[in-house]
Subunit: 318 residues, 2 copies
């Protein structure tokens, strides 16, 4: 019988580390984030996280924890929880799950860890845009394009814990850009922020400027820049095609789209829905609902909590 009580929740990405305390119903009692010292070594990274979590627990009054749930950028060895986040070079096969268990997991309570995009998906399914559905794809469209998959009411892990990689669904096999994975025409290669910015620069937007990002692209699009808008249209179309494929394969009810680029709103969602309507034509696929993620920055923390608090649906790792 699982212990009732609050859960220490963690969400680690290349930009920010977040920690919080989640009550049994999925409400965050407190949470906080700090910049990830992405260039630091393994020990400094761990100490930064440990301090953050100690402060959060202190602020919550030192609760009697029912467990610890964590999301972290991939790749990772799952369910062992040895993490090698792409954007945190100081952690390579860092034993994050064992370290969290040793430091915060007293009394044998569960300590669980999954990919950050999967935690976002779980959060949105439990308490956000996918609440009450049985079949959902969660997407994080940002510097990369990640995701997670819920089918028949449960999180899909896949053979190695990597299910949900919608970013490597192929959208334009013959003429698409090369992808960092080594393939061609993957959704991520087209729709990731840096890919979009590079494409827009090749079309004359801020040509020659260094270090422009998807965020600036979205801002300029909102101000009416036609090339920036065309770039978002390109991303939206690619997203719509990939979502159509995923809906056919997984018979999805809802797709929750989050991540920085989703803040572009209708400049992204209008072309997305147009492409989806063009390509999802079966009776069961044209009904799929695409919705912006609603939990914002906290989705990953809430989902990390659900790994412990709703383990029967979202955890099959032990």
């Amino acid at each position: 019988m699982a212990k009732r009580g609050p859960v220490l929740v963690v969400d680690i990405g290349g930009t920010k580390m977040a920690g919080g305390v989640c009550d049994p119903d999925g409400t965050l009692l407190t949470w906080e984030s700090v910049p990830t010292p992405a260039g630091a070594d393994a020990q400094v990274l761990w100490e930064t996280l440990e301090s953050l979590l100690a402060a959060v627990l202190h602020r919550a009054g030192g609760p009697d924890l029912a467990g610890v749930g964590s999301g972290c950028g991939g790749p990772m060895r799952w369910p062992d929880g040895l993490v090698s986040p792409l954007n945190i070079p100081g952690w390579r096969d860092f034993p994050l799950r064992p370290a969290l268990a040793e430091r915060f997991g007293r009394d044998g309570v569960p300590v669980r860890l999954h990919n950050d995009a999967i935690c976002m998906t779980v959060g949105e399914h439990w308490r956000g845009a996918g609440r009450g559905t049985t079949s959902m794809l969660g997407m994080v469209v940002s510097t990369g394009v990640g995701g997670g998959l819920v089918a028949d009411g449960r999180l899909v892990n896949g053979a190695s814990g990597n299910a949900g990689h919608i970013g490597h669904v192929i959208v334009d096999a013959e003429n698409g850009p090369l992808c960092t994975c080594g393939g061609r025409g993957c959704l991520e290669a087209i729709a990731r922020g840096p890919g979009l910015a590079a494409w827009a620069q090749s079309q004359g937007w801020r040509a020659g400027e260094a270090d422009v990002t998807g965020k600036e692209l979205a801002e300029d699009a909102a101000l009416g820049h036609p090339v920036a808008q065309a770039a978002l249209g390109r991303a939206g179309r690619a997203l719509g095609i990939a979502i159509a494929s995923a809906t056919s394969l997984c018979d999805l009810e809802v797709v929750a789209v989050g991540g920085g680029l989703s803040q572009a709103g209708e400049l992204l969602f209008t072309p997305l829905r147009a492409a989806l309507a063009e390509y999802a034509r079966l009776e069961f696929t044209h009904k799929v609902r695409v919705a912006p993620a609603v939990l914002g920055q906290t989705a990953g923390l809430v989902g990390a909590g659900a790994l412990v608090l709703r383990g029967e649906r979202y955890w099959a790792g032990d």
Copy 2:
């Protein structure tokens, strides 16, 4: 507690109706098929099936059945089991599951029905190419391209029982052929037998001949006809791209490929594997194993049996 004992199994397609008796371990004690009277009305279709099943039960010695499992061509209303098989126009919303229950389901034993491609997938997962794996895509490449999905050791049904439609994963969104679904560039539009034959005819193979099929195409390819071989290469490449997408999304361990066109062997599988190697480049995707289905014509019957005999994995419809 489910009853132990043999199960009456059924597999209905546009070409053949098959019936059999499956023992609790998945061995077919007897089975038989008859041509589907595809142009007949609903009553004649049912009587043909009923006679076939009565004969099969008689031959098996009138066993005390533990249930009835059936596959049928889609679409259907699932789990209600009202079927409207594309290639059997006489059945539109025909209540096949209720009819089987009334005629053969005495003593309240379970009577279950699913899509025929899903039953093939379940058969291959339980007793065929996917045995022992937790994550598998089954494919039927024939007049259409159908499939089914197993994730984390369970059949995925999806929001409306339609998960597994790999045939409508998009392979060539911009330049692919129109699909019967109304979309463009779906795997099925490229790789279905009639689509391949049409393409080959447009390239000069048997130009002008009426009613050529994928079967003749495969035969001519085996005899060395270069256009017929190119058509299989085109199908194999499309299959490889779609499988790469599905593997990224679902973290598949094995893909079992059956159906008439898979009989073309290496003329299909070599280009398939080449495209898969080109597009499935992540550490977890490049490991996926593509295998010919091994149960042949009996996969659907064995899978129909599993809906009853291994319901905890393969049935969530009630």
